[in-house]
């Protein structure tokens, strides 16, 4: 839209009219060839997303073991879901996982990106900054299953790496069964997820920082702004679009997180690290209560959709305000 907005005033007096005009003109062309290009995407969407989702919703209204006859139970599975305390506590765990996978990494990523770009990059050269960025991004590249196994050893009770290290530095009193104690298991997983996630915001933010016009920094510097004030008043507002992307993608990643729980705790001890995606998987494939698992998956998909819609509308509103 910005393109139309800037091009408008040169041709006609009102930018609004110009925008409408350009849409109309483009609209005509669209009618001819473009729908063809939509076909592959639409077909894929239909086969991979729309039909399975529709089937999932249909299954969620039934009691079904995965084979054999289905029994229609209407909203029965959803009623059961509402009353299932394990499901709701798993939702709360997912909220904490969003904190660990989206909020905290975004904040840390922002500070680290600014420090790498603004300070280390300038002082030690861009190559040093790139190497450090690559190192911090590494956990994003490694397979989650491998990392899960390694973190399992680190957090193991008794002679796990973390406990051994604590004992070696004289902090033996702090040793703990990190993944076995319901009070610490989720926090231990959250810490692992922060470590895994930092790389993504970092890379996106560093790319964003390169986009900022250096003139802005220069001007701020001339006005006597400190690094902190430049960070707050130049860096942060300038890379706002990156914020939305990072937060949205990380939140969705947190909502569909499955592997860390599957590899590290299987939702335990008890149900203290259970999350909806794992809960759904268990019902679907292990308990063969497919209808109930489908109901969980549907609710999870709806929540993800709502969160995405909120994020995108916020982003557009903000952009419109800026325009």
């Amino acid at each position: 839209m910005t393109v139309a907005g800037t091009a408008g005033p040169a041709q006609v007096a009102s930018p609004d009219i110009a925008r409408r005009e350009s849409r109309r003109r483009r609209g005509k062309r669209v009618d001819r060839g473009y729908p063809l290009f939509l076909l592959p995407g639409a077909a894929l969407f239909l086969v991979v997303i729309a039909v399975p989702f529709g089937m999932n919703v249909w299954i969620s209204f039934n009691r079904w073991q995965g084979i054999g006859p289905m029994t229609w139970v209407g909203l029965g599975n959803y009623r059961r879901l509402l009353a299932d305390s394990v499901f709701w506590s798993s939702f709360w765990h997912n909220v904490l996982l969003i904190v660990a996978m989206a909020v905290v990494p975004t904040m840390i990523g922002l500070v680290v990106a600014a420090a790498l770009f603004d300070y280390l990059g300038k002082k030690f050269g861009p190559r040093t900054a790139s190497v450090l960025r690559a190192c911090l991004y590494l956990p994003q590249v490694m397979p989650l299953a491998v990392m899960g196994v390694v973190w399992g050893w680190i957090l193991a009770p008794g002679n796990g790496v973390l406990n051994s290290a604590l004992r070696d530095v004289g902090l033996g009193s702090l040793t703990h069964d990190w993944l076995g104690d319901p009070k610490s298991a989720l926090y231990a997983i959250m810490a692992v997820m922060v470590w895994i996630q930092i790389g993504f915001p970092l890379v996106v933010f560093m790319a964003g920082l390169q986009r900022i016009d250096p003139v802005l920094y220069e001007a701020a510097e001339l006005d006597g702004a400190s690094w902190a004030r430049r960070f707050r008043h130049v860096t942060v507002p300038q890379i706002r679009p990156e914020f939305y992307v990072v937060l949205l993608m990380c939140t969705i990643a947190a909502l569909k997180a499955f592997a860390p729980i599957y590899v590290l705790t299987h939702g335990g001890p008890g149900y203290s690290t259970d999350i909806p995606s794992y809960f759904s998987y268990q019902n679907f494939f292990e308990k063969t209560q497919v209808g109930y698992g489908a109901a969980t998956a549907t609710v999870l998909a709806l929540i993800t959709l709502i969160i995405t819609a909120v994020f995108i509308s916020l982003q557009f509103r903000r952009r419109d305000e800026e325009d």
Partner: protein, 455 residues
């Protein structure tokens, strides 16, 4: 550091167990059902493939017996079956046995589809249990072997306790037609470190009181007596062992087959309270909650804990891996019932093209020389002659099995009655070890049990 090398080498035996125990009902169900879900989309492709293949394989297969199994070549079963193939080919001149080794996963995922096609093998090894062999029998994919059982006299070799997982009526094990024949059995026992027992002058327990006295002695010496793993099957087997010590065969049938379990009855309440109590007393380490079965094995193998209660699937592993101390076994003292069952089954698909040869092959695997190999390699054969078993430990393993089978002492596994019950049991035992109220843990088991049975 956890024993990394041990992990890798032990994985084979533990996987073997997992598929025997937990998978018997649970993940297998999931897998085969997920397959069915995918099947719809794959149907066209499968049909096309079958159409191509059916023309070629018909006539030539008369002299070939196609056999599928998923045992490692150097495992007890792998070795025994390659002997069986040799014996069989010698007895059937002109017939070749074409052995195809599949993975367990592969068979679980594709069995219903493949067995329904003309690509079905003539005979295959398949997992026992309602959700696996039971399901296939219900779908009409397996041959009812009842006439052959009588004809070959297999029922005389397999005790009624073992036969439970061979017989299915409308997909439910326990009675009805014979749909599979096992070659081996498995059961839980107490493994103990003879050196540590001698060092602390602990006699081998003969009664439950002896057992707790022995554990007290070790606790006093600062040693955790029982190796445990809360994140996988071991902890729930402790719970089940304790419940079984207060149960009778009717209780087992009610729990396993009739769907009539009361988790607040005397046996379960005793088991839950005792387990919590044992953690408090230091018999079981509290920080074993997040450990996996392989970690439990490492704890025992490293000599950290003098005892470990688990299944016969550890036997071969310990025989080859424990070099620095002497170990032996005894049955859970003061209980006539222990977790255990018949092993995985030989089944003959309905679409098998060489049924008679398949029956003959099953019969070959139940002969003495094949069964003796199973015995001497540290597994429990169903029909070996103890007199032919040379290894003294293996002899004891078989004697204990004979005792249990004769008294219907194999009580199957706690997660069998309901698909996915394994996870509920894991969660509940983790809660118990962490000191949560036993009533709420047992309550969650009751809810999941009923929910599962009503599906």
């Amino acid at each position: 550091m956890p024993n990394l090398i041990g992990r890798a080498t032990r994985r084979a035996s533990v996987t073997a167990h997992m598929r025997n125990q937990a998978a018997a009902v649970m993940p297998a169900t999931g897998r085969s059902r997920r397959t069915t879900l995918i099947a719809v989309s794959l149907l066209a492709a499968t049909t096309a493939l079958t159409a191509c293949n059916s023309s070629g394989s018909g006539s030539s297969s008369a002299k070939t017996l196609t056999l599928w199994h998923y045992e490692a070549a150097d495992s007890a079963m792998g070795l025994a079956w390659s002997q069986a193939v040799k014996d069989f080919e010698a007895a059937h001149p002109g017939v070749t046995v074409k052995v195809e080794t599949k993975t367990f996963e592969q068979l679980q995922k594709t069995a219903p589809m493949v067995l329904n096609s003309s690509n079905a093998p003539d005979i295959l090894e398949y997992n026992k249990g309602n959700a696996t062999a039971g399901l296939l029998s219900k779908q009409g994919l397996l041959t009812d072997l009842t006439p052959q059982v009588t004809q070959y006299g297999w029922d005389k070799k397999l005790s009624s306790n073992i036969a439970v997982t061979s017989r299915y009526s409308n997909g439910t094990m326990g009675s009805g037609g014979w749909y599979g024949i096992p070659n081996y059995a498995e059961y839980a026992m107490v493994y103990y470190n003879v050196d540590l027992f001698n060092k602390y002058k602990v006699p081998v327990p003969k009664s439950f009181a002896d057992f707790t006295t022995a554990m007290d002695t070790f606790v006093k010496a600062g040693i955790t007596p029982l190796a445990n793993a809360g994140a996988e099957y071991p902890a729930q087997q402790y719970l089940y062992d304790l419940a079984l010590s207060k149960a009778d065969p009717k209780w087992v049938t009610d729990y396993q087959i009739n769907g009539k379990a009361d988790f607040h009855d005397a046996a379960w309440s005793y088991a839950a309270n005792t387990l919590t109590d044992w953690v408090k007393k230091g018999y079981i380490a509290k920080d074993s909650v997040s450990l996996k079965a392989t970690d439990m094995g490492s704890t025992f193998e490293s000599g950290k804990s003098p005892m470990m209660v688990s299944g016969s699937w550890w036997y071969g592993t310990f025989e080859s891996e424990i070099k620095n101390f002497t170990w032996d076994t005894f049955l859970w003292p003061g209980s006539g019932l222990v977790p255990g069952s018949g092993g995985n089954l030989w089944v003959v698909p309905t679409k098998s093209k060489n049924k008679q040869l398949a029956y003959d092959f099953i019969n070959t695997t139940l002969q003495k020389d094949v069964q003796d190999i199973i015995a001497n390699k540290g597994a429990v054969p169903v029909a070996a002659d103890p007199a032919d078993v040379t290894d003294p430990k293996a002899k004891k393993l078989i004697q204990n099995y004979t005792t249990l089978a004769a008294s219907n002492g194999l009580a199957y596994y706690p997660d069998w009655p309901v698909p996915g019950f394994y996870d509920t049991l894991t969660a509940a035992t983790q809660d118990l070890i962490n000191g949560k109220d036993s009533n709420s843990a047992l309550g969650s088991l009751q809810t999941a049990y009923q929910q599962g049975r009503s599906q």
